[in-house]
């Protein structure tokens, strides 16, 4: 997919910060995050557990339980309108037609006591005021779109009667019911086997190219990003550390954490290369506990390139051309010794 630079973004997040007020401490889950998603593109958010990627996704439409969560600052512009300023009733109207979600666990997202057909139809009744028959006809159409086999029969099936892959297809059908402009897929295939993962991701990218929906794909799997996303953002400890076109970042990462992630995963086909087995590159240490605002770069304690300034000051994003930014004082040195 190609875009012109003048395209106004579908979604623009500016300086978003999310806190969780716990009993004795405050967790700084997302810290001053800014990014843009353009219409029709797949924008991947990558990071390890606890980096704030899911919290960011849920904050877009205020789907977090508040309290304990609190959006302490920032704006979320969707087609120019700041969602953070809208009342709950307006937000509810946007959930579905504007932005809809597909989550990791299809079993816990579906209502176990409601037939599949009615769950898909529900969105059409709510948002378009369709009557029962119209909505069911639309459900049938959607089930065919997501390639649920034997659609007619499945309409009256309950979630437990479906396989994990079929449940995820059902979730996608529900998410697409109102033809959203932005689809947020939060680890949509993490609970699935690889052959089913491939089918679901292929389905999502096919549907996306047919409907022109923008997509935020949240994942911990860089290989999934490599195959399915146009642009990506890497998060660490609630901060954006790198952002840019997928090809460029995979080719020349400018943040030591991104490079670390790329080198830590074993690659398929590695045994076919000549020479002895190499050990995987480790990222030493563990992720920080986010109970205080970070002084300096949050990755500095684990970073082999860190110098004094990294521990004192938060690095600002440095540009590496063509929309590629990395928040690192030493971005030029990343991967230099290779």
């Amino acid at each position: 997919m190609t875009f012109s630079e003048t395209d106004s973004p579908l979604l623009e997040v500016r300086d978003l910060a999310v806190r969780f007020d716990m009993l004795r401490r405050t967790i700084h889950a997302v810290n001053g995050l800014s990014f843009k998603v353009r219409a029709g593109e797949t924008f991947a958010i990558v990071g390890e557990s606890g980096c704030g990627k899911s919290v960011t996704a849920l904050a877009l439409l205020k789907l977090l339980a508040m309290p304990p969560a609190r959006i302490s600052r920032g704006s979320v512009l969707f087609e120019g309108q700041d969602l953070m300023q809208l009342p709950e009733s307006k937000l509810r109207q946007l959930r579905g037609p504007a932005i809809s979600y597909v989550f990791q666990e299809p079993m816990s997202s579906l209502n176990p006591s409601m037939k599949i057909g009615r769950q898909i139809a529900e969105a059409c009744t709510l948002h378009y005021g369709m009557n029962r028959d119209e909505a069911l006809a639309r459900a049938r159409e959607l089930m065919e779109m997501v390639q649920l086999p034997d659609a007619e029969e499945r309409l009256s099936a309950y979630p437990h009667q479906l396989s994990g892959g079929m449940r995820q297809r059902t979730m996608i059908a529900i998410a697409l019911a109102c033809s959203p402009r932005l689809l947020v897929a939060d680890e949509p295939t993490t609970a699935l086997d690889v052959t089913i993962q491939a089918q679901i991701l292929d389905l999502l990218s096919d549907l996306q190219s047919k409907t022109g929906t923008g997509m935020i794909l949240i994942t911990h799997d860089l290989a999934v990003v490599a195959e399915y996303a146009d642009r990506m953002m890497v998060m660490y400890a609630g901060c954006k550390v790198e952002e840019g076109p997928v090809d460029e970042i995979l080719d020349q990462p400018r943040h030591p954490y991104t490079l670390g992630l790329l080198q830590a995963v074993p690659r398929l086909g590695s045994s076919l290369q000549e020479g002895p087995r190499r050990s995987l590159e480790e990222i030493k240490g563990v992720v920080p506990i986010l109970d205080a605002p970070s002084v300096g770069c949050p990755f500095a304690p684990r970073c082999s390139l860190a110098i004094d300034i990294c521990r004192r000051e938060m690095p600002r994003p440095a540009s590496y051309g063509n929309d590629h930014h990395a928040a690192c004082f030493r971005g030029e040195q990343v991967g230099a010794s290779d």
């Binding site: 390890e48 089918q199 090809d247 995979l250 830590a264």
Partner: protein, 316 residues
């Protein structure tokens, strides 16, 4: 003959519903080698792991350790078997007793089997902690004070406590983040080099299995479909299921996949297809595949495939 571990005709059925979770599977694990076992959920790989760790009894067939079938062992001999075959589990959060300190968890098998004095035991626990890269001072902490990666190190230290010959590791890194996953994989490789322990490494992650294994076995719906040294299986997979598995793994190289190859879902193990169980998804299936079950046949040195088309038999 080298000494080896041998699983023969293990057919496992639960009593509530007859699922032939593992059907007619035979393979060997050699001293000091890592055998990777891959397949999708429900293919029976965890059942195999538990059969070998003697947490399940096979319905038919036997597991042999160095030629001795475990079904013939007396209770005392079985205790010894369990000290020589240890297990590491997937979930580092539920597999450690939250009421025991890390040191007690690691020292428990020594206490049960070794009968060392408390002082000697503490010394051995400290050594084990160092071996897996944990500070011995942490031994007095409870599991909830440790991260996922550290917990998996505790699990490995405990498994190593009795100097086993085989560690059965069931998805040991699947619950970990990639940066921590690399630490644990490297640790497992180092421990094998230092202690000569063999691994049965069960995983759904092909790239991880390729990285760590010497040989790889692929399972589908309770049966072994292919077994080969890792370079052969990743360089020249012969079973159509192995091919599809490899096609479906996304890679960083952004190579274009032949997507049409990845189709269908695993049928129910309650009612598996007749003949070759993969035939319902197989692009190569011929009529014979529904009438007779293919057996593993050698296609090259150490490379076995169960497929009527790719590894045809002379007569059947």
């Amino acid at each position: 003959m080298s000494k080896h571990f041998d699983v023969r005709r293990g057919a496992f059925g639960t009593s509530h519903a007859k699922v032939r979770a593992v059907d007619d599977v035979s393979f060997q694990i050699h001293r000091g080698e890592t055998l990777g076992l891959v397949g999708e959920s429900g293919c029976g790989k965890s059942t195999i792991a538990k059969l070998i760790a003697c947490l399940h009894r096979p319905t038919a067939g036997t597991v042999r350790l160095q030629g001795v079938p475990i079904s013939r062992l007396t209770d005392r001999e079985l205790r010894r078997y369990r000290s020589r075959v240890q297990m590491v589990f997937q979930d580092p959060y539920s597999s450690l007793n939250p009421r025991m300190t890390a040191g007690e968890i690691v020292g428990e098998p020594i206490r049960e089997h070794g009968g060392l004095s408390a002082r000697k035991r503490r010394k051995q626990v400290a050594e084990l902690f160092q071996r897996v890269g944990l500070a011995p001072e942490l031994a007095t902490n409870y599991p909830d004070a440790f991260s996922g990666g550290q917990r998996q190190r505790i699990g490995l230290a405990r498994a190593l406590a009795l100097r086993p010959q085989l560690i059965v590791a069931d998805e040991p890194v699947s619950a970990l983040d990639v940066s921590v996953q690399a630490q644990v994989i490297n640790l497992m490789v180092r421990l094998k080099r230092e202690t000569g322990v063999a691994y049965l490494f069960v995983s759904h992650d092909l790239a991880v299995v390729e990285h760590i294994s010497d040989r790889v076995a692929v399972m589908y719906l309770g049966q072994l479909v292919e077994l080969a040294p890792r370079r052969r299986i990743f360089g020249n997979p012969r079973h159509p299921y192995t091919e599809m598995l490899m096609q479906s793994v996304p890679t960083l190289d952004r190579r274009s996949r032949s997507k049409q190859l990845v189709v269908g879902e695993v049928p129910s193990p309650f009612d598996p297809p007749t003949g070759c169980r993969y035939r319902t998804r197989c692009p190569l299936a011929v009529p014979m595949c529904s009438s007779s079950t293919p057996i593993l046949r050698q296609v090259a040195e150490g490379h076995q495939v169960a497929c009527h088309v790719r590894a045809p038999g002379t007569a059947s």
